[in-house]
């Protein structure tokens, strides 16, 4: 896998990050080094090995479908950049 400008730009777009023109070469170089590190995994034969997601193989707990939290939206929205009538405001999406 070779990291080039196209790969870096695609990934930046997926991550919703903006790369300055001056950062692209450094990003390519650093990501290439990290990918080379990741590639070392390919030396291990993992056929038939079950992937591990939770170290103790725990599963999601279920609970009764009842309300357990009280309404605290004013408290939680106090830290928001911009709200109106309990709604979060963002730039207009639909003209």
């Amino acid at each position: 896998m070779k990291v080039d400008e196209a790969v870096v730009n695609t990934v930046a777009n997926l991550a919703k990050l903006k790369l300055e023109a001056g950062d692209i070469d450094t990003t390519i170089e650093q990501m290439s080094r990290i990918l080379a590190l990741m590639e070392q995994m390919q030396a291990v034969d993992t056929s038939g090995v079950e992937p591990l997601a939770h170290p103790l193989d725990a599963v999601q707990r279920l609970r009764e479908d009842v309300v357990t939290e009280s309404d605290q939206h004013e408290k939680y929205q106090a830290v928001a950049p911009e709200t109106d009538s309990s709604l979060y405001l963002v730039p207009k999406v639909v003209e």
């Binding site: 896998m1 790969v7 870096v8 695609t10 990934v11 930046a12 997926l14 991550a15 919703k16 990050l17 903006k18 990003t27 650093q30 990501m31 080094r33 990290i34 990918l35 080379a36 590190l37 990741m38 590639e39 070392q40 995994m41 390919q42 030396a43 291990v44 993992t46 090995v49 079950e50 992937p51 591990l52 997601a53 939770h54 170290p55 103790l56 725990a58 999601q60 707990r61 609970r63 605290q72 408290k75 939680y76 929205q77 106090a78 830290v79 928001a80 950049p81 911009e82 979060y88 963002v90 730039p91 207009k92 999406v93």
Partner: protein
């Protein structure tokens, strides 16, 4: 006032009326004010909260109803949400964030009577092994101020070592409690994954993140951990297991304890000064009655590559919540929604965080998922299986925490892979979800060396027991850096 250096000492002094909690709290706030400009271990002090809590602790003590940590001043890593005090995660992204609630671990410590004197510096969003990635500046190692304190809980470790507080909270995803504890000469424990609730702890790699205490002694760590730990329905990965009183197991003799020495951890690349001190410490444990057994963890060399797929992948998902909409940094005058997201994130995150998000997004992207993320999770299983085999013949595994002592500031900032390889001895147990700790084990060139103990699942008690017995025979944990007298 004769200043205590341990929680145990402070509790004795408070009980004997040598000082009040308010006096103790003011003392530590003074020390921080005086010495923090050099070390930068603390992002913010919480004087008003601290004094109010200390007054309450003094009242409770007088009324005979204080909790097990009543009146003990501590710092919280700035990754723990603390209601009423800024929680920055070391990031510009959260420079303006005052959490509307407190983390479960913080709540439990507060309920036990601990006093929050402030918030400790850290690598941004816990991503780093040197504490050079904080928006609030680098933290310096109190033993040699041109050296790093380790990371990501570098502020917590430096603060405890320098006497800013009696203990601190830390978090450990791939070594972030143990490596800074080792570099700063203190005791730090990462419990079994799921032991301490992650609720209110800003997420980095959710399948790896664990909170734990950073203290001078194993006895203090035992007391603090049994306070922090326990099932929490608000954390879906919390373990519903009883928490034993770790303090009650500290005095058991080590006769018959089987300690595994992993040959892959004592290999080329390990600094000879570190190796000498680690070998001496292991001999000390043998002298206490433990028997030494060689074990093999054959997939060790693949732990760092697998970790640096899994942790960034989870980080890229976790940090997608920072979008400039609900909390945190928002860019000025966004022209549209895309611009709002992209510019808020690019301005708010530092270089290492942006890099890990991108690596994670790549590893999870269509076409690469199987080759990287799934492969890493399979290797994670093999690493866990290695440990399961080893723990059939031993009770604990002992070895180094890091390949070297604290390295000079700026030494590895341009080479991410060199920095990642620092985590070689700490990430395997993180991937397996096992408890592990670092205890002071000597010095090499006047810098502290840590001994790592890795325990079996939920067996923190045995680790703390061995650490405590070791600390009865050694005094490395009582050595303090000379940071000058506070005037």
């Amino acid at each position: 006032m004769s200043t205590p250096v341990t929680i145990e000492g402070a509790l004795r002094g408070l009980a004997a009326g040598e000082y009040s909690s308010v006096e103790l709290t003011r003392h530590f706030l003074d020390v921080i004010r005086e010495r923090n400009p050099v070390l930068n271990a603390v992002i913010s002090t919480t004087d008003d909260i601290a004094i109010a809590q200390a007054e309450q602790a003094d009242r409770d003590r007088q009324a005979g109803r204080g909790g097990p940590l009543a009146g003990v001043p501590i710092l919280h890593k700035d990754i723990f949400c603390t209601e009423g005090a800024r929680t920055s995660a070391g990031s510009k992204m959260l420079d303006n964030f005052v959490s509307p609630y407190s983390a479960t671990a913080v709540e439990k410590l507060t309920k036990a009577g601990a006093i929050m004197v402030g918030k400790a510096n850290m690598d941004e969003f816990a991503m780093g092994s040197s504490n050079e990635n904080s928006f609030y500046g680098v933290v310096r190692n109190p033993w040699q101020t041109d050296r790093v304190p380790g990371g990501s809980s570098g502020g917590s470790a430096a603060a405890v070592a320098a006497g800013f507080c009696l203990a601190a909270t830390g978090t450990d995803t791939g070594g972030s409690i143990r490596q800074p504890a080792s570099f700063c000469g203190i005791t730090g424990i990462k419990p079994t994954y799921g032991r301490v609730s992650r609720w209110g702890m800003i997420a980095y790699g959710s399948s790896l993140d664990q909170a734990g205490p950073m203290t001078r002694t194993a006895a203090d760590a035992a007391l603090m951990l049994q306070t922090m730990a326990g099932f929490d329905h608000r954390d879906s990965t919390s373990l519903d297991e009883p928490v034993p009183l770790f303090t009650e197991a500290l005095d058991q003799p080590l006769a018959g304890l089987r300690i595994g020495l992993c040959k892959e951890y004592l290999q080329d690349g390990l600094d000879s000064g570190v190796e000498t001190q680690v070998q001496n410490a292991i001999r000390e444990l043998e002298g206490l009655g433990a028997s030494l057994v060689e074990v093999s963890l054959p997939h060790t060399q693949y732990a760092v590559p697998a970790y640096y797929v899994i942790a960034p992948a989870e980080c890229s998902a976790n940090l997608s919540r920072f979008d400039g909409v609900r909390f945190g940094h928002r860019c000025d005058d966004p022209v549209d929604l895309e611009d709002l997201y992209t510019r808020s994130r690019s301005e708010g995150f530092g270089r290492e965080v942006r890099q890990r998000i991108m690596v994670g997004a790549f590893a999870l992207s269509a076409g690469y998922y199987d080759a990287y993320y799934r492969k890493a999770q399979q290797i994670r299983r093999l690493i866990k299986n290695d440990f399961i085999s080893a723990f059939k013949t031993v009770d604990l595994i002992a070895g180094p925490v890091a390949p070297s002592t604290a390295f000079p500031l700026g030494d590895m900032t341009d080479d991410p892979v060199a920095m990642y390889l620092q985590d070689i001895f700490t990430v395997p147990s993180s991937l397996a979800g096992l408890p592990a700790m670092s205890i002071p084990a000597g010095f090499s060139d006047n810098l502290p060396v840590g001994l790592q103990l890795i325990g079996n699942y939920l067996d923190e008690g045995r680790m703390l027991n061995a650490a405590h017995q070791f600390q009865q025979r050694t005094d490395w944990h009582l050595r303090s850096p000379d940071t000058g007298e506070v005037s």
